[in-house]
């Protein structure tokens, strides 16, 4: 049981990273469907840099930088040129999938020494909880800190208030002097950096190697996760670990001695996502109440005059 929960956290961590980035982005009113593409680019760049320099820390930073760079393509098209957010996001995913496979083609199958677990002294000695929470690698701890920091920033600070104002009503925010586009740029870029680190987690920790399309739809699941968490940062953490649990269900079931085809069990996270979408969508009123009001709608300051 302890082992399962430990694995659920490990599997949920990339989802947590990318969903944290996306929730901030969506809170500013921008729906970026390019998560999968940014994540794949993060994964391949993180791996390539770590492989060639031998420095995995540098790999993670490069992956985040790559994520930001990818998100900037999206930001320019959506925020400046006023392109359709859905189509641009899809383009970003298709582009990222292709580009990552293109630049990673020569490195498929190479293996590197990824991040090693670091047990936190004292805390990791707590029975059960110590093993589940405090004997992971450093990126998992970073995701813990990130979640706590974001809960604080979104709910308790002026930055969080500005972000929400832009997402709820950009016209009102603009009227009181908030630079709407600047806030949205920053939110999209933050989303990119989180997608990058999420990809790096996949290629440096989860399976320390590069495989084409290795994120296997996690970028899309993260988008569902944000809706599942009704745009609340704290619930994203819970949701990510639940999805992590669903992804390793085959291990659990095998543990009970059930033999089901691994290919059928591989569907579980996707089926779970569909079920979640149905449950949330059914409560139409609640979804409308909780989603940022201007989500997906363009804002053009030129039209204000």
């Amino acid at each position: 049981m302890v082992q399962i929960l430990f694995a659920a956290i490990k599997t949920g961590t990339p989802l947590l990273f990318i969903a944290l980035g996306e929730v901030i982005c969506e809170k500013s009113g921008i729906l970026n469907l390019g998560q999968e593409g940014m994540m794949l680019m993060g994964a391949v760049v993180g791996f390539l840099v770590s492989y060639s320099t031998g420095n995995i820390g540098l790999g993670v930073i490069s992956a985040m930088a790559m994520g930001v760079l990818m998100s900037l393509i999206f930001a320019v098209l959506v925020l400046h040129i006023g392109a359709n957010q859905v189509a641009t996001g899809l383009a970003l995913t298709i582009f990222g999938t292709g580009l990552s496979a293109f630049i990673g083609a020569d490195f498929v199958g190479q293996i590197i020494q990824g991040f090693q677990p670091v047990a936190i002294p004292v805390l990791s000695d707590i029975p059960y909880i110590g093993r589940i929470l405090f004997s992971h690698d450093i990126l998992v701890y970073f995701s813990f800190c990130m979640t706590v920091a974001l809960i604080y920033i979104v709910n308790k600070t002026r930055i969080g208030l500005t972000l929400k104002a832009v997402g709820e009503n950009p016209h009102a925010a603009n009227a009181i002097g908030i630079k709407v586009l600047r806030v949205r740029y920053l939110a999209v870029m933050f989303g990119g950096s989180m997608a990058g680190i999420s990809g790096a987690y996949m290629s440096l920790v989860y399976t320390p190697m590069w495989v084409e399309g290795m994120t296997a739809g996690r970028g899309w699941i993260a988008l569902a996760l944000v809706v599942f968490a009704s745009w609340r940062v704290g619930r994203i953490m819970l949701g990510a670990y639940l999805f992590g649990l669903a992804s390793i269900m085959h291990l659990v079931l095998q543990g009970f001695g059930w033999s089901i085809s691994p290919n059928l069990l591989a569907m579980l996270p996707y089926v779970a996502t569909v079920i979640v979408m149905v449950i949330i969508g059914a409560d139409h009123f609640k979804e409308k109440l909780l989603a940022p009001r201007s989500l997906g709608k363009p804002f053009n300051p030129r039209n204000m005059a």
């Binding site: 469907l33 593409g37 393509i73 098209l77 040129i81 006023g82 392109a83 359709n84 859905v86 189509a87 641009t88 899809l90 383009a91 970003l92 995913t93 298709i94 582009f95 990222g96 999938t97 292709g98 580009l99 990552s100 496979a101 293109f102 083609a105 084409e212 296997a216 739809g217 899309w220 988008l223 569902a224 809706v227 085809s261 290919n263 059928l264 591989a266 569907m267 996707y270 089926v271 996502t273 569909v274 979408m277 149905v278 949330i280 969508g281 059914a282 139409h284 979804e287 030129r302």
Partner: protein, 355 residues
């Protein structure tokens, strides 16, 4: 100085010119990229775009690739016109391949004339089913169509992989994850002697014409166009959004299913795990490049098929990873979206504007 001014009316010229401009910009981007990785850009572009059309064999292969792209893109064009964000053509294609193959394997020892039609119908119905599930979930439970259709893509993929490892695996296939090779009675006949162009390619071109007819000549098509342009107006006119949603989704599912079953009963001849090199996703770009117009989709599908074919040749002849194709597709869509800006806006010099 130059500045941007909103047009009073959308430019019809730019609507047509924008995809062409985007293609040119993508080629320029490609030349720079090939130069950067130390390949001769002229040779690379030649292999990617001209070589696929150089001889009759290559042209035939290009049409074989055009078939599934076009079938999926025609369906998606109608969906997007009606504001149904169906990203599930890939899953619907795989479902069609799976359902059709199950039927084809049922007829494995048969010579019946009904074998091929029933196989095709099974594929079409499977594609429709795969489109119906997310449509039902959207209309009944208001779930997000983009995400559910993508999830159904993954579910279809694993279902197919499961099937070729399990129930549909060839018992005499030495354990390879492949079905038995279909009997001749369930294979799509080829149209020309010397090439692999099969009946499915003809279906694809027909689907473009049918799609155009529905969209331009029928009341249903009129409703779809009004719905896409101005949803409140369509509702005010009393058009049923549900009925239209069902129609476009089932139409798209049927075409994608047909694409899938045509692949397995056409060029492949059996069910294999990698039926589609992402045709369903590329079809999204084909639909956009064709301006969400079924006839435009035919032209766009030819271009995309050339690119697919060129990608294969570039890998063989120049050692360029085949992933270059999907990267180009993404870049192409970026440029297209950027160029579309000028449908509703134009650049003017500020001197002129003050007049």
């Amino acid at each position: 100085m130059i500045r941007i001014q909103a047009r009073t009316e959308p430019s019809t010229l730019m609507k047509v010119a924008s995809p062409l401009l985007a293609i040119v910009l993508t080629l320029i981007f490609g030349s720079i990229l090939f130069t950067a990785i130390g390949k001769d850009p002229y040779q690379a572009l030649h292999v990617l775009l001209i070589a696929p059309l150089a001889d009759s064999y290559n042209i035939g292969e290009m049409f074989v690739k055009m078939g599934p792209l076009l079938l999926c893109a025609v369906g998606l064009s109608l969906c997007y016109r009606a504001n149904m964000w169906n990203i599930g053509a890939e899953g619907q294609l795989l479902a069609g391949a799976l359902g059709g193959s199950a039927m084809a394997l049922y007829f494995i020892d048969s010579e019946s004339v009904f074998a091929l039609p029933l196989t095709l119908i099974a594929g079409i119905l499977s594609g429709m089913l795969w489109a119906a599930l997310p449509t039902f979930l959207k209309l009944r439970y208001n779930s997000n169509l983009i995400l559910t259709t993508i999830m159904f893509n993954y579910i279809a993929l694993y279902l197919l992989i499961w099937a070729v490892h399990g129930p549909l695996r060839d018992p005499d296939g030495y354990g390879f994850p492949e079905s038995a090779i279909f009997s001749d009675a369930t294979l799509l006949p080829t149209i020309f002697e010397s090439s692999r162009i099969h009946l499915g390619v003809l279906f694809a071109v027909l689907s473009g014409v049918v799609g155009w007819f529905i969209l331009s000549k029928t009341h249903l098509g009129f409703q779809i166009r009004v719905f896409g342009a101005d949803e409140p107006a369509a509702r005010y006119a009393g058009f049923s959004g549900k009925k239209l949603s069902w129609f476009v989704m089932l139409f798209a599912g049927a075409l994608a299913g047909l694409a899938g079953v045509s692949e397995t009963t056409g060029p492949i001849g059996q069910l294999v795990p990698n039926v589609s090199p992402g045709y369903g996703y590329s079809a999204i770009i084909v639909a956009y490049l064709g301006r969400l117009h079924p006839i435009g989709a035919i032209l766009a599908a030819v271009f995309m098929a050339v690119l697919y074919m060129g990608g294969d040749l570039a890998q063989i002849e120049m050692g360029i990873p085949v992933a270059v194709v999907s990267m180009f597709q993404g870049v192409l869509l970026f440029f297209l979206l950027a160029c579309d800006f000028f449908i509703n806006n134009r650049l003017i010099s500020t001197n002129q504007a003050t007049n």
